[in-house]
């Protein structure tokens, strides 16, 4: 088993307008870990995910994935290693058909048509969306779009899965299906979410963000019992733990 992990060393990020989104963030996620990233709106969760996926470069500190530091030169390899599932599947799905969308990543990796075909089939099969391969993404339901979006990332066979609000906007059944799907994966996983039930079920570890800084990092079960911390960060424990 390879030793891929995600590491942030005193990372800060300031947007071009001057707004500081992250400050002095240090964390390490080891191979196979499933980590929930929680925090109120605007605390920097999405920025942290974009940095992890190599879509932003830190303005301070260092991000590394599998021991490879994030620099303009290493962006392609980092983007292959870390698969990012966007909060809104409509942003992720941009090709005319689901099949072509799933093939987009592998095709950019320079794989042969046979390899691309095999990856597309395997990825769609793993999310139970093989029957949707010829469909237009615009015509899918919310749950189907989410599955297709996850398949587009799985087709690149990333070592780390980074998910931005994977269960938002889903009806209860689609939410449950997405959750069961994510539970099956053995990938290293970092999921930003407001869905505390999902965080509790899927992720043994939880990182709490507050105003662009890490307010707490530890076992999810323990942090959920710290009502003072949750209250200070604008969060609530899952219903089952209230």
């Amino acid at each position: 088993m390879s030793h891929h992990y995600l590491q942030f060393d005193r990372v800060g990020y300031r947007y071009p307008g001057g707004r500081e989104a992250l400050r002095d963030v240090s964390l390490r996620i080891t191979h196979g870990e499933k980590v929930a990233l929680v925090g109120a709106n605007g605390t920097g969760k999405s920025t942290l995910l974009l940095l992890a996926a190599g879509l932003l470069l830190p303005t301070e500190g260092e991000v590394s994935v599998g021991g490879i530091g994030l620099t303009p030169r290493t962006l392609p390899i980092v983007r292959q290693t870390v698969g990012l599932v966007f909060q809104n599947p409509d942003h992720q799905l941009f090709m005319p058909t689901v099949e072509e969308d799933v093939a987009f990543g592998p095709a950019n990796m320079g794989l042969t048509p046979e390899e691309i075909e095999a990856r597309v089939t395997a990825a769609l099969e793993s999310v139970g969306a093989l029957h949707l391969r010829k469909e237009s993404p615009c015509r899918l339901s919310g749950g189907q779009k989410r599955s297709a979006a996850i398949a587009t990332v799985l087709a690149m066979e990333p070592s780390v899965l980074v998910l931005d609000e994977p269960t938002s906007d889903l009806d209860p059944r689609a939410r449950r299906q997405t959750l069961e799907l994510l539970k099956r994966f053995s990938h290293t996983m970092l999921a930003a979410t407001h869905d505390m039930e999902m965080a509790r079920e899927l992720c043994p570890r939880m990182i709490v963000l507050r105003d662009g800084e890490i307010a707490a990092d530890g076992a999810a079960e323990t942090l959920f019992r710290d009502t003072d911390l949750l209250d200070a960060c604008g969060l609530e424990p899952p219903c089952r733990m209230r």
Binding site: F104, E114, T152
Partner: protein
């Protein structure tokens, strides 16, 4: 406005849906269709304007390829008419300035400018029809890739692809905003003029934001500015592609060279 936005989105959908159908035209390589359409446009547009009947003959190409591609001719013609206002603007000067009488039908005198105006309209409609058949049997993505493979600079083909993709984003955002506006307009047909400025500004900002997200999604999957081939498993260049391209190219060039309508008219006179 909401209905026209919805119609435009539906038309885009229909075109893309048609591009995923199965037919002999769909099975052809995108490059063969692209090159044949290019030959068609060059030969058709180079026919002198007064030769209206010769230009009319060129309607055969979009009609034949549309039929072969399972596209209905009625809707194709309706969509092709969308180009009329633009070409009419170009041709109107011929109608106004060239008033030399060309023929007389009863009491009506048709001027040379009138014939040229009609020829310009016809050229516009036929060009549009041929392009719609090309996109409708190929898909815009495959078409941009075919352009790239045919040696068109990458920055142009990628720009073309983005324009098409973001056109959809723009329409979707405009439709969402229009609905949100309608929901709080309480029966007013159009928002107040001063609201328009804000709406257009917001539309641009929202479209820009969504476009950036889509670009990020592309970067996250290794996009480097080159359109990758995502059509794994589809057939490559075959004999049928060579036959289609050669056959149509020869027919179109021969038609351009020999003026068949004029020749036949002379023979039967």
């Amino acid at each position: 406005m909401k209905n026209s936005l919805q119609n435009a989105l539906c038309a885009l959908d229909a075109l893309e849906r048609n591009a995923r159908a199965e037919s002999p035209m769909h099975r052809l390589d995108a490059r063969a269709k692209l090159l044949a359409t290019t030959v068609y446009l060059v030969t058709m547009l180079s026919v002198p304007l007064p030769q209206l009947s010769e230009i009319l003959l060129y309607a055969l190409f979009p009609m034949a390829t549309a039929t072969l591609g399972g596209m209905r001719l009625g809707p194709l013609l309706r969509r092709s008419l969308a180009v009329l206002p633009f070409v009419a603007l170009i041709g109107i000067f011929n109608l106004l300035y060239d008033r030399t009488p060309a023929l007389r039908i009863g009491t009506l005198t048709v001027t040379e400018g009138g014939i040229e105006f009609a020829a310009i309209l016809l050229r516009g409609i036929l060009s549009m029809a041929a392009l719609l058949v090309l996109i409708g049997t190929t898909g815009f993505y495959a078409l941009c890739r075919a352009l790239q493979q045919s040696g068109i600079p990458r920055f142009l083909t990628v720009q073309l692809l983005f324009v098409y993709r973001y056109l959809r984003v723009l329409l979707e955002e405009a439709l969402a905003m229009s609905r949100a506006c309608d929901a709080r307009s309480f029966g007013r047909k159009h928002p107040a003029l001063r609201v328009w400025g804000t709406l257009v500004g917001q539309l641009l900002l929202r479209t820009f934001d969504r476009a950036e997200q889509i670009h990020r999604a592309m970067l996250a999957r290794g996009f480097t500015g080159r359109i990758p081939d995502c059509t794994a498993g589809k057939p490559r260049w075959r004999r049928a592609d060579t036959a289609f391209l050669t056959g149509w190219s020869l027919a179109l060039i021969a038609a351009r060279w020999s003026y068949p309508v004029e020749t036949l008219t002379r023979l039967f006179r």
